[in-house]
Amino acid sequence: MTCDEFQRVLPYIMEGGGSDAEQTHVQSCPHCSALVEDLNSIAAQARLMLPLRDPSPAVWSGIRDSLEREGLVRPAGNVVRLRPDGLRPRSWSWAAMSAVAALVLLSFALVRYRNLLGTPPAAVPVTQAQVAPAAPLPADQEVVLAVAERNPDLRATYEAGLRDVNDYINSAQQTVDQNPDDPDAHEQLMQAYQQKAMLYDMALTRATQ
């Protein structure tokens, strides 16, 4: 089994443990074994970020929205949305934030391990001017509202910070799309996501401090 084949079935392995061949591969390949170890560690961290009680169905709806917006899953189509519009309990904000923070961390890990092999060609750069400013994501707005509720003075700081980070992610993502084999571009995208994770983490800290 090759690393490529292994990584293609990695999500199933994370859930179910994997077949004998997959287990043999992960035991013999330091790269894939490090990847599994890191993802396990991130998943453990993500679990800690989630509330201790069971989240409401609205949370899963919020996560689905986030996944769709990030392009990680296809739109639900005719699936009935569970969250009634305009009805968002306060705890939802933090659950969604935790989920998005977890997503950010997972994206960060996946980006890190994508295309690590091969010599990088010179990248085709995407300049900031070419990238449209990122529209605020609903999850970001939740973060800003939650922070501002407790510390109104911080609203502008978080708004500007999230805008900057989203622009960073957009421009880095476009460069990665144009230069998928450039590890530096991936690293830059990883740094951008890391900053977003930091912002969410700080916001979470503010809410619980």
């Binding site: 010599t119 990088p120 060609p121 010179a122 990248a123 750069p125 995407v126 300049t127 900031q128 510390n151 109104p152 003075d153 911080l154 700081t157 978080y158 500007a160 910070g161 900057d164 980070v165 960073y168 421009s171 880095a172 460069t175 530096d184 571009a185 690293e187 830059q188 740094q191 951008a192 890391q194 900053q195 930091m198 912002l199 700080m202 800290t205 503010r206 401090q209």
Partner: protein, 282 residues
């Protein structure tokens, strides 16, 4: 003879000056701790200053701007915690608390502030400093793990050696002066990064940002292996670098370079998305 109006204005000014002074409350806490104590301060508004003192005492002097806030101290074994507690809705003016914290040099310190400067001097333990909108200034903090996170506040770190440094700021500038760590990582978005000093031995520097500039200034004797790349900005170098053999890095004139100065005992990685990177001799 002064007019009635003059006297009234003087009296009003005197009262106005006296009111904030009267509203201020000063509280002092003293504890004796064992080596490696952990001291945490959580503040909403106002400065937090931390410095080392000889002996095993932790002394915290908190000056509260008003009666709308109080301090919740906690001691659990060798761990101390001081938390600003708002009794009602507060703002930056009436909710401000100024913490003056003195700890043994080996203490591990954790400070979180919403908006106010953090200053730390002469601490050898681990430091975790989180500040949403304020500045962070560290001096003579060596040997420990230093983690700093800000959103908009600038960060300065000077005269530190042999530590693990990890600084992240979204839009604050980061300035390092004479910082030789085993691992020095700076990650900003719009903030500029400036390093000025020698690089020591066996250290690893990684300075990365998005749109800000990166200036790396070192003496001609610096022993370093440098890699610099700006994806859509420019790079400049005035060190006579020796080319490296067998590297996967693709140099691009004006955009990316790599090479070794002297023995190359430390690694320096500089990367920006669209900023200018300058490697300069001191």
């Amino acid at each position: 003879m002064p007019s009635k109006m003059h006297v009234t204005v003087v009296l009003l000014l005197a009262v106005a000056a006296a009111v904030p002074a009267a509203a201020q409350v000063k509280r002092e806490f003293r504890y004796t701790v064992a080596p490696g104590a952990s001291v945490a301060v959580y503040n909403e508004y106002g400065p937090v200053s931390v410095r080392a003192i000889a002996g095993r005492q932790v002394v915290v002097v908190a000056t509260l701007a008003s009666g709308k806030v109080e301090i919740d101290p906690l001691q659990a074994g060798n761990r101390l915690e001081f938390r600003t507690h708002a009794l009602e809705r507060i703002s930056g003016s009436d909710g401000s608390v100024h913490y003056d914290v003195s700890v043994p040099p080996d203490a591990n310190v954790n400070v979180r502030v919403v908006n106010g400067p953090i200053t730390v001097e002469n601490i050898l333990g681990d430091l975790t400093l989180l500040d949403d909108a304020g500045t962070v200034d560290l001096r003579n903090c060596s040997g420990g793990h230093v983690r700093v996170q800000t959103i908009s506040g600038p960060v300065t770190l000077s005269e530190s050696s042999n530590g693990y440094i990890d600084i992240t700021s979204v839009s604050g500038n980061v300035a390092l002066k004479n910082v030789t760590g085993r691992k020095v990582t700076v990650n900003t978005n719009r903030g500029a990064i400036r390093y000025d000093g020698d690089v020591g031995q066996n250290a690893a520097y990684s300075l990365i940002n998005n749109t800000g500039n990166i200036d790396f200034i070192a003496p001609a004797s610096a022993s370093m292996d440098v890699t610099a790349r700006s994806v859509s900005g420019t790079v400049e170098n005035d060190f006579p670098l020796q080319p490296k053999r067998r590297t996967g890095f693709a140099p691009q004139p004006g955009r990316a370079f790599t090479g070794t100065s002297n023995a190359g005992s430390s690694t320096v990685e500089l990367r920006s998305f669209s900023g200018t990177i300058r490697v300069k001799k001191r």
